[in-house]
């Protein structure tokens, strides 16, 4: 069943290739229907998922290339079930909003479907080869979308920058994954098989360290870990709305999932060795990129930097290597997926109405847009981590996880990042929504039909739902996270010397 969540968009994408060029509207309806079906399937899978079972559910597996040990192995566990739900919902809203694309609709629909099918396939894959290939399948359309449908003067530069940067990241990841395959004796790309091999064998520390560093840089580039983030802000600012939503919201989470799916369970020693470096780098994300975001005059650039900054919290949770921190990281991944998609959707809508995203030229728009203004305010509040939104839950858990594990300055850095986040988010909300209405905006009107409001409402509803009922997520995530951490505990003694048992002195 899980495989249909991503196969349906891919199959429809291939079918659309044969559609006559003029039938753009038909292509849009097909995209809408395909993403709708895949979203419904994802919702069913999410609620049918049994939290009490820790292993993989809805499993599907067949051998693809036997001599290389590559399997087509998909399914859901606690970690990816929420991500798939998030990805499918965001894909659906992106498909709704792609209605506004009025040039070459057919090609856009195909690329959007490839993107959503690809990334959902990567989320669902338990085989490193397909994990990689599906992600790449989702990544390539991003480049083309920015190039063809993108906006802004630096569009061409942004296209080439993001293409080359992310390709290098992906290739480094690939090298790491292949090394992992070679150094484990399991002769398999299947994560489950490697894990069962590791139960009885151990990977040499040097190898673990090497592979982890490669994967850290590769995944780090893909998730915009500081200092590998510079592709992100301009890339998002230039991308068409649905592409920015999909990439910032969903595709970027691939790297974080890679840490949870591959690095921590398969490279426990490497993780313990390197994670404190990740923890320091992610403070760079939170503080530096947050600081840069504060200086931005353009809403899109601000959102781009803030999405980089938010990744810092997810990294901090992962780096804590505690059950509570990892759970928080997964929740942040899901919450930020909704939030990033929502904010880029909003900025696309505002740009269409006002023709500008310069914060200084906007103002007083709450009066003109009672509905969209409220949504924007809610999104900004969710971005600063207000209780009631899912982001708050994730950040809180990450703090709990980080508090005990890290040096004081890391925690202080993360805490100040929250303050910085509040400053730029609320500052932007003030500049856009409050104050006097510039005369040229006096004739603007709010989103009229219910149809226009649905995508935004859906994303806000998801944020509120998981904010108010975080148990739906934590119950599912926690058992799987504990399984991941088992490998760390098992290898703990080989890294950190345990304190010797107290000697009892004989009297």
């Amino acid at each position: 069943m899980v495989e249909w969540i991503f196969l349906i968009p891919l199959i429809v994408a291939v079918a659309l290739l044969f559609l006559p060029h003029r039938w753009g509207t038909v292509a849009w309806f097909a995209t809408f229907a395909a993403t709708l079906v895949s979203m419904i399937l994802a919702i069913i899978v999410f609620f049918k998922f049994d939290p009490s079972v820790a292993g993989i559910q809805f499993e599907h597996k067949f051998v693809w290339i036997k001599s290389l040990g590559i399997n087509f192995h998909t399914g859901v566990d606690g970690i990816n079930v929420g991500l798939i739900l998030m990805g499918a919902i965001v894909a659906f809203t992106a498909a709704c909003l792609s209605w506004d694309i009025k040039t070459r609709e057919k090609e856009f629909s195909i690329l959007l479907l490839l993107m959503s099918g690809g990334i959902l396939g990567a989320f669902a894959s338990f085989d490193m080869f397909f994990f990689y290939v599906f992600h790449e399948l989702a990544l390539i359309p991003t480049f083309i979308m920015i190039g063809v449908w993108g906006q802004g003067e630096d569009k061409d530069y942004a296209t080439f920058q993001i293409t080359i940067y992310l390709t290098i990241g992906a290739l480094i990841t690939l090298a790491g994954l292949i090394l992992l395959y070679i150094y484990t004796g399991a002769k398999s790309f299947d994560v489950v098989e490697i894990r069962s091999w590791l139960n009885n064998n151990i990977l040499v520390t040097n190898h673990q360290s090497l592979i982890f560093s490669l994967l850290m840089i590769g995944f780090g580039i893909l998730v915009s870990l500081w200092p590998f983030y510079s592709w992100a802000p301009l890339g998002y600012a230039s991308a068409p709305t649905p592409a920015a939503m999909m990439h910032a919201g969903v595709i970027k989470k691939f790297g974080l999932l890679g840490f949870l799916r591959i690095c921590i369970p398969l490279l426990p020693i490497g993780s313990v060795e390197w994670m404190h470096i990740v923890a320091v780098l992610c403070v760079g994300n939170m503080l530096y990129c947050g600081w840069v975001a504060m200086q931005q005059k353009n809403l899109n650039m601000l959102l781009g930097y803030s999405s980089v900054a938010h990744m810092g919290f997810a990294f901090l949770g992962i780096a804590s290597l505690t059950a509570i921190g990892l759970t928080g990281a997964v929740i942040i991944m899901i919450a930020h997926g909704f939030l990033a998609a929502l904010s880029f959707a909003l900025s696309g809508w505002y740009f269409k109405q006002t023709g500008t995203l310069e914060l200084d030229k906007m103002g007083g728009l709450q009066k003109r847009f009672p509905f969209m203004g409220s949504i924007l305010l809610m999104a900004m509040l969710a971005g600063c981590g207000l209780p009631g939104f899912a982001n708050f839950v994730g950040e809180l858990l990450v703090f709990f996880g980080a508090w005990r594990e890290f040096a004081f300055y890391v925690v202080i850095g993360a805490w100040s990042a929250l303050v910085i986040g509040a400053i730029y988010m609320l500052g932007a909300a003030r500049k856009i929504l409050h104050g006097d209405v510039p005369p040229e905006f006096s004739r603007l009107r709010d989103a009229q039909t219910l149809w226009r409001k649905i995508p935004y409402s859906l994303l806000i509803a998801a944020l509120l739902f998981f904010g108010l009922f975080p148990g739906t997520l934590t119950r599912r995530i926690e058992p799987s996270v504990k399984i991941i951490l088992k490998s760390i505990e098992k290898n703990e003694y080989s890294v950190k010397p345990k304190p010797a048992a107290p000697v009892k002195l004989k009297k």
Binding site: H21, K66, L68, V133, G147, F160, T163, I178, I182
Partner: protein
């Protein structure tokens, strides 16, 4: 003698001579059928190739000619390449001027040379077969007598190739002088365990000279200087055959000689091979960036691909050779698809024919949706983007090099160079894709009409790139079993 083992080559020779005779003696209306006859004959030969038993090793001419898994795989490869080239020629023929029968005959003779090279198990046959290929190409590159560029290409190819052949034959003489034998099997037996002989300077120089001679054929840096000019000047079908068939023949001989006959020497050369591979990858990719002529660009990118393929040799292992053979095949599909598109685009301007300026691709998707898609997929496959076959080829090569990294850490530099090379190559491949899709078309551009032969060629290439990308196991297994024939 066992001449029966050569049945494929013999039938191809009969076909070539028939076409040649038709060109000289037959009336005009028969001459026009020469292309179709060639196509038909080659298809029959291909069918026959599929009946050959790859697991049954057979020798002929006192061990000079061998029929094993690698030979069968390579022969199929060459025949398929030749068939696709003939399709290119037929397309050109249906469009403008008739193609002389000699052109078809020369293609077939070059093909025979390649097929002999696939089976060469002796230094003499190695030299003879590679010379047969080269001499055919002397004529093929300079075939356009009215074009200055084509003549320039012909002269350049002649001079460079002559020097390379001189190196090759001198190297052969030295190796023979030191080892006293010419058969590959005998050479490897003679060298086995004799450290003194293996390390003797004359033998090493001999091996080096053979590497130079073959390196010229595969466009390995630093013997790649001829590539851009010849690729640009030669008629498109010749360039296509040079980039696929001739290069593949060079690689098959490299595999046979360096990984089978001279493996004792080659294992000493691990680092040097890695360095050559790195140099080739970087040179090809970096020089391709500023090119404005598509055929020149393909020339530089073919140097880069020679570097990737050389990774397979540099690993000195079965996995590497299997990956190389797989990569050769998918590389051929992509290159021939590109040349199919080029033929359709450039031959319609009537004059000069050979200004392959890249600018003609701006807004190309408005001129022909189909050709634009083909070009995009072919470039993406060359760049190594999943799920196309080119990705799986690069995946296999990188995997084999990483697997060898436990032997020598220099392989990490090779991987780094390959990754950097791929990133650079994405820049210039995407440059063309960008032109195709998001620039405005030229004023004088009109809709294109595409002949049936090109459609057949392009559909085959596209289906192949997609099929072997999504379902690579069949081709991968046969490449692997072909590589097993080396017995490293």
């Amino acid at each position: 003698m066992n001449a029966g083992a050569l049945i494929v080559e013999i039938s191809a020779a009969i076909l070539g001579l028939t076409v040649l005779i038709i060109g000289v003696a037959a009336p005009e209306y028969l001459k026009r059928g020469a292309g179709l006859l060639t196509l038909f004959g080659l298809c029959l030969i291909l069918l026959f190739c599929f009946t050959l038993q790859p697991y049954f090793i057979e020798y002929a001419f006192g061990g000079a000619y061998v029929m094993d898994g690698l030979a069968v795989f390579a022969k199929k490869f060459f025949v398929i390449a030749a068939i696709l080239i003939v399709l290119l020629l037929l397309a050109e023929e249906s469009k403008s001027k008739p193609v002389p029968c000699e052109y078809y005959a020369l293609i077939i003779f070059a093909l025979i040379g390649m097929m002999l090279a696939a089976s060469a198990s002796n230094l003499i046959l190695l030299f003879v077969s590679i010379e047969l290929v080269t001499v055919s190409f002397y004529v093929l590159t300079g075939f356009n007598k009215n074009s200055r560029l084509s003549l320039e290409a012909g002269i350049k190819y002649l001079v460079y190739s002559g020097v390379a052949s001189a190196f090759l034959v001198f190297g052969i003489a030295l190796v023979y002088g030191m080892s006293g034998v010419t058969g590959f099997k005998e050479i490897s037996e003679t060298l086995k365990g004799k450290t003194e002989l293996v390390h003797s300077p004359l033998l090493q120089i001999g091996f080096g000279m053979i590497l130079v001679g073959l390196g010229f054929k595969i466009a390995m840096a630093p013997f790649q200087l001829w590539v851009p000019d010849v690729y640009q000047g030669a008629p498109s079908p010749t360039t296509a055959f040079l980039a696929t068939g001739s290069k593949a023949a060079g690689f098959v001989l490299l595999i046979r000689f360096f990984l089978n006959a001279g493996v004792e020497v080659t294992t000493q050369w691990r680092e040097q091979l890695i360095a050559l591979s790195i140099l080739t990858i970087l040179y090809g990719n970096l020089c391709a960036i500023p090119q404005r002529n598509v055929k020149r660009l393909i020339g530089y990118s073919s140097i880069a691909h020679a570097g990737y393929l050389l990774m397979g040799i540099a690993t000195l292992g079965i996995d590497g050779v299997g990956a190389l053979l797989y990569y050769l095949f998918v590389y051929m599909l992509a290159v021939l698809a590109i040349f199919g598109v080029l033929g359709a685009v450039y031959s319609d301007n009537g004059k000069g024919v050979y200004d392959c300026d890249i600018g003609i691709f701006s807004g190309f998707h408005k001129r022909s949706q189909f050709l634009a898609v083909v070009m995009t997929i072919a470039l993406a496959s060359l760049a190594g983007i999943p799920p196309l076959a080119g990705f799986f080829g690069k995946f296999l090569l990188v995997k084999s090099a990483l697997a060898a990294s436990s032997i020598s850490s220099s392989y990490y530099y090779l991987i780094a160079a390959a990754i950097g090379g791929v990133a650079v190559s994405i820049y210039y491949y995407f440059g063309i894709i960008k032109l195709i899709y998001w620039d405005e078309p030229r004023q004088d551009a009109d809709k294109l009409e595409i002949g049936i032969p090109v459609v057949v060629l392009l559909v085959f290439a596209i289906v192949g790139m997609l099929y072997w990308g999504i379902m690579p196991s069949g081709l991968f297994e046969s490449a692997k079993s072909a590589a097993n024939a080396i017995g490293l």
